[in-house]
Structures are given as structure tokens and as C-alpha cells.
Symmetry: C2
Subunit: 383 residues, 2 copies
């Protein structure tokens, strides 16, 4: 690995407002760790009290910091949570899309796309250079565009619920690089419009008193078409936003995860089941609606797991099948290296040329589910 430049601890300490000794400790414990790439990049593998996980520090000569995207907390009940949380007069409701979130910023003279964890994804970088008007980054070198990459050619969370042929990018936040401070909602939307960059859908602005009723209607509508949910925001973006999702999206997550039941965390399952309980109570469901919700939940858990067990029984490998679509084959190699760095085991199929692009199918191997299922089918015990 190119050893790159040593972290200028003094400068980083001042920029982040974290004592030097703390930075040194984080480096030692590898909470703050170097990533093998040019320009030299250090990333926060997890968050500390004041700094979000995924915060990236670029340091070839001049230091540039891109703060991690803060975790958006979840409402289990719309009422009284919205009222309780938002001491402002109104809230703005925007769509929460189902893809993966990236931060896009210009570092030196290049636009780069950072994943949640603070790694530069070469595939996403290629996509955002095509999809976003690059003049924005020239004009606004101190801003970061935070958005969702959605669509079927998305190698992290592929979804066909949107009318998107390959992938598209929708902005939900614009923030300052070093501080992470967000622009107010309308300022963000206006700025994006000026550059023709798409934002996530804005449902409206509602009084804090009534917002729970409006959001309920929006969520029912989104659920019917299989969409994920909403983010509820203070228009000024001073009070941190909260998220709320549809039961359909919840069950769809479970269906996806239970195919790889031994690879996902146990909290993943538990929290989604609990959400269903609270939504049913809030919506004051009758016997018929509740019964339907229960069956959908049970089916979302068992059917994909049974599919996986049967697949393994037939001797097939359990894989998460995704695809990428690229202009040049160099990006494929870089993306393969990126997956390796993330610890993902994957098989890349030969590129298929489609028009002027290459479609590459990728099978991610869920080793834990493969191993566990194979062991049980061969007569091993659970524990």
C-alpha cells in the first residue's frame, strides 16, 4: 500500500474540534484509519461523541474533511413524536427513497462519491459524474451533496420499485463539508434546481399539530406502491430530522434479509417486527387489517428463508445477485477492488456489451448463510 501522507494531527484537531491526544488515540485503535488510495484518505470507521462514523479526511497537502452523514432517528409512532420533537411551527415532509446513500464532493479537482462508511466507491463516482452537473461542484467547493442512488443497476440495494432503467440520483441534503451543517430545505431545493439536479420528492409543509395525519395518508399511499417512507424535517434544518416508513417497505426489507438469514444482524429483524406492532396500534387496526399484517409479516420471514434452504438442498450456492452498468471496464476492476476492501466476497460474470455500455452481473456470496444452511442440511445441530 502506498503509505501516502501522514495525517496532520494538529490541523485535523483544529478543524474537527477534537483534542490532538484523542485523534492519536483513535488512530492507534484504528477507529480513524487510512484507506489505500490516492489522494491520501483517512476515515472514521465508527462515530465518536462529536464526529459521525464515515467522516472522511483527505490530506495531500491541503486537508479537506467531509463529515459523515448523521444517523436519522426513527419515529415508532407519528403522534405524539412529531409534536414532541419539532418545537418549530411547521415540518416539511420529503420522500425517503430506497437505495444507498452517498455523499458527493469535489476533492482537489475531482468529484468523488463517498459511501456511508467513508470509502470512495469507484462505480458510484462514475455515476455521479454522469448524472450531476459538474459545474455545481466547481461553483461550490465547500458543499457536499447527500443523495440516494436508486434503481436496478445499483450494486448495494437494487430495487425495481422506481421507474428507473439503470440508476438515478436524488438529493435529500446539501451540507457544508467540514462542519456537516445542512442548508435549510428550500435553500437546498432552489440551489439544486439551479443546476438541474433532482431532489427527492417534496410532499409538503404541514403544521406540527396536523403533520401526523398528513404523514399517515402519505405513508399509506407510498406503501401501496411499495415505496419506502418519508423524512420529516424542520424547514430550517436546525432540529434534526426523523424518518418513518411503510409496512410494505419494512416487510420487503425482511424478505430480502431472510434470504440471507445468517448474514444479517439479529437487531435488523427485531426492530422491524416492533415497528409493525406500533404502526398497527397507531392506525387502530380492526381484526381484518391486523390479521393481514400478521400474515404478511410471517410470510416475509419464512418464505425467503425456505427458498434459501431449498436452494441449498438442490446444491446451489446462496448469492445476492446484483449488477452494475459501466462505460469502461476499468471501473469494473476498481469496483471489484472496492468490494474486496469492504470484505465482500463476490463473483463477477463476464461483461455483456449493451449499446455503448457494459452490464456486469455480480454474485455476492453470503458465506455465513451458505455455511450454516449447509451444516444443518448435513445433520449438524443449531447450538
Amino acid at each position: 500500500m502506498n503509505k501516502g501522507e501522514k495525517l496532520n494531527v494538529d490541523a485535523v484537531s483544529r478543524m474537527l474540534g477534537v483534542p490532538e491526544v484523542r485523534i492519536l488515540g483513535l488512530l492507534k485503535r484504528r477507529v480513524l484509519q487510512q484507506v489505500a488510495m490516492v489522494p491520501t484518505l483517512y476515515r472514521f470507521d465508527k462515530g465518536i461523541s462529536t464526529i459521525e462514523g464515515g467522516t472522511a479526511i483527505f490530506c495531500d497537502g491541503e486537508i479537506e474533511i467531509v463529515r459523515g452523514f448523521p444517523k436519522i432517528q426513527r419515529a415508532m409512532l407519528l403522534y405524539p413524536t412529531i409534536k414532541q420533537r419539532f418545537t418549530c411551527k411547521t415540518v416539511v415532509v420529503e420522500e425517503k427513497m430506497n437505495g444507498y446513500n452517498v455523499r458527493v464532493a469535489r476533492i482537489r479537482d475531482k468529484v468523488l462519491a463517498l459511501t456511508r462508511g467513508g470509502l470512495v466507491c469507484p462505480y458510484t463516482t462514475e455515476k455521479v459524474r454522469e448524472l450531476l452537473d459538474q459545474r455545481f461542484f466547481q461553483d461550490n467547493p465547500d458543499l457536499v451533496v447527500c443523495g440516494e442512488i436508486v434503481g436496478p443497476d445499483n450494486p448495494y440495494v437494487p430495487k425495481s420499485i422506481y421507474p428507473i432503467e439503470s440508476v438515478d440520483f436524488y438529493v435529500y441534503d446539501v451540507r457544508f463539508k467540514t462542519s456537516g451543517t445542512p442548508l435549510p430545505v428550500y435553500a437546498k431545493r432552489k440551489l439544486m434546481e439551479e443546476y438541474g439536479i433532482k431532489c427527492v420528492r417534496l410532499f409538503g409543509e404541514y403544521s406540527v399539530e396536523d403533520a401526523h395525519l398528513e404523514v399517515t395518508k402519505i405513508i399509506r399511499g407510498l406503501g401501496e406502491v411499495g415505496r419506502e417512507g418519508v423524512v420529516i424535517k424542520d424547514p430550517e434544518m436546525i432540529i434534526p430530522p426523523i424518518k418513518y416508513t411503510s409496512s410494505q417497505s419494512n416487510c420487503s426489507d425482511l424478505r430480502y434479509a431472510f434470504e440471507f438469514y445468517n448474514d444479517y444482524g439479529r437487531d435488523f429483524f427485531f426492530s422491524r417486527v416492533v415497528r409493525e406492532g406500533y404502526q398497527s396500534v397507531e392506525w387502530d387496526e380492526d381484526e381484518e387489517a391486523l390479521k393481514k399484517r400478521c400474515c404478511q409479516l410471517g410470510e416475509s420471514l419464512l418464505r425467503p428463508m425456505i427458498k434459501t434452504i431449498k436452494k441449498k438442498k438442490r446444491g446451489q450456492r446462496i448469492t445476492e445477485d446484483v449488477q452494475i452498468r459501466v462505460k469502461g471496464l476499468e471501473t469494473v476492476n476498481q469496483f471489484a477492488e472496492h468490494l474486496r476492501r469492504m470484505g465482500v466476497d463476490a463473483i463477477f460474470e463476464p461483461p455483456e456489451q449493451i449499446n455503448k455500455e457494459y452490464l456486469v452481473k455480480i454474485k455476492k456470496i453470503n458465506q455465513s448463510t451458505n455455511d450454516r444452511t449447509e451444516a444443518i442440511l448435513s445433520g449438524q445441530l443449531w447450538s
Copy 2:
């Protein structure tokens, strides 16, 4: 606390075959810890490589050790697991009852009942002194009777699935105190019969080749009447037994646990969901049977949680309601002290005299579920 007698490390080391230095280390880390009672008792709070958690060491003068009950591993599939595991010719199938397991042994001149964790339960001790012929313990001072306490007046796992008015005791294993070595299945049953002590039901002895078919029939029958499952044993008890349970019992556990959704471990839920998947595959279920299983699973998760949320919404406290039935009120006080020692917060209602006994209703407080539900209902976020 009565400081009791110091542990004779040298003697314990020899009896357990664990080096003295290791015993001293375990004492220091409180893996091996003293319990405030007479006679002086030390217990293994968790297992170490060769010694089971719950192993109890009594030491006033002479040392007596009661080995912890070993964890019985679970089959996720009957075939090929039974065939794989049991290199003997036949297996014996006994019922696994749904209650709590205790070890009963005579220590000095008193018969005591130990819970799984190695604490002496005063209530269970009263019960086993009534229910079991005490001559057995006089005649066999080196044996431990391992059995299940079942029935509605059981303060740990109350169940009304058996035709039992208060509580009853069913033996599944007889073992040697110090070594934990079990008696062979038929020797155990014959010995118990001699003293008129009830054993769990014996379904039969089957060839290892066919056992999975027989157990499937047994499990379907047990499931229909809401009973838990079976333990499959090497008749000689040389190969450790394995357990297998019905879907109904599985769902009943989930129904019970989801009332107190925030107090149970996340693994508790996950492993039960996975069991359902494997059973469905093994039984090669058609669409109708699978749909029914999914709905039952979903209902077992959501209905009890919804009941809890609604209860809290009405301002009621979430409690696990159990009861004990005792001859004297002294046992009630001792049992209250025992629950406190276990860290269980409980409210005891005034005793009701029924015939010559006292019935005492106990409300165990599931603090985590109470707090979490109250917080969410008042508008707090999940995380």
C-alpha cells in the same frame, strides 16, 4: 451476609479436575461466586470448558458438588441429524415438558431443589419435598434427580397445557452428583418406579434409521395438543441427547415473550423463526400449510406486542402474572428473597387461603418493556 465457610480450593480442584489456579481466577472474576445461604454455597454463574454453568458447591465441612445440567443441543432437521449424531443402533424418545428444570439432591440431611443457575429455590424445595418420596434421597445420597416442574402454580414458566391442578414434577434424568454422569434411560426409569416417582413420558425406542419418521408423527401429535416436544436419547446415555420441538410450542414461546418484547434477548426471537423455516422444509409443506404457518408465526409476534402497547396506553403496568401455592407463609418470604437475589422485581399480593394452603399471586415487573413502551408512547424515538 453470613460470610460462611471459605471455599476449600484444593479439595474442589481435585473433585472437579480443574487446576487450583484456575479456581482462584474464577473466584476473582466472580464466575464462581458465593450465594448468601446456609449451608455455604458457591455456584458457577456460567460454564467453563469442562464445568457446566449452574454447578453448585456446598461446603460446610464436607464438600458436596452438584454438577450443572448440560445444555441439550437442538436438531433443526430430524433427518439426517438423528442418523448423523447417534452412532448407536436405537434411540429412545421421551417427552420434553414445558416448565422449568430443577435438580434435586440431598445435601447434608436436607433435600434441596436447585434452579438451572445453581441457586436453591425455597418454593421448589417445598414442592419437591412434598412430591417426591424422600426415601430415595436417603438411599441414594450420591444421585441427583433432574426433572421438570410443570403446572399453573409454577412461578417461572406457568402453563396450563397439562392436566395438573397446581404443580407436578416429572423426572427426565438421574445423574451422579459430582461427575454429572447420567444413568442409562431404562435404569433411571426403573429406579424411579421403585420409589413411585413419575418420569416424563416414554414414547418408545426406535431404530436410528427410522427414528426421524417416528419423531415426526410424535411431534405432530404433541403439537396438536399444544405440548412442547421431545428429547431423543442414546439408551445408554453415552452420546448426549438432542431436543426437537413442535411449531405450536415455538409460537407459544414467542407469544409469551413478545408481551415483554424488550426484556427478552434478540436471539430468542431469531432462533425460533429459523426453526419454523427448517420444519416447513423438512415437512415439505404445500402452499396451504405454509400459509397457515406464516400467519401463525406473524400472529405470535404481533398480537402479544400490540396487547402490551395498548395496555400501557391505558396506563396499566406490564407484568408477568404468576402464582405460587404454599403450606406456610415462611416460604413466601423466602421466595420473595430468592427473586430479589435473581434480580427480579416483583409485587406479591396478599395470600388467599384455599383449603389448607395459601395462594399468592405475584406480578413480575418487566421494567425494560415498561420503560421502552412508555417512552415511545410519549413520543420518544427508537434510536
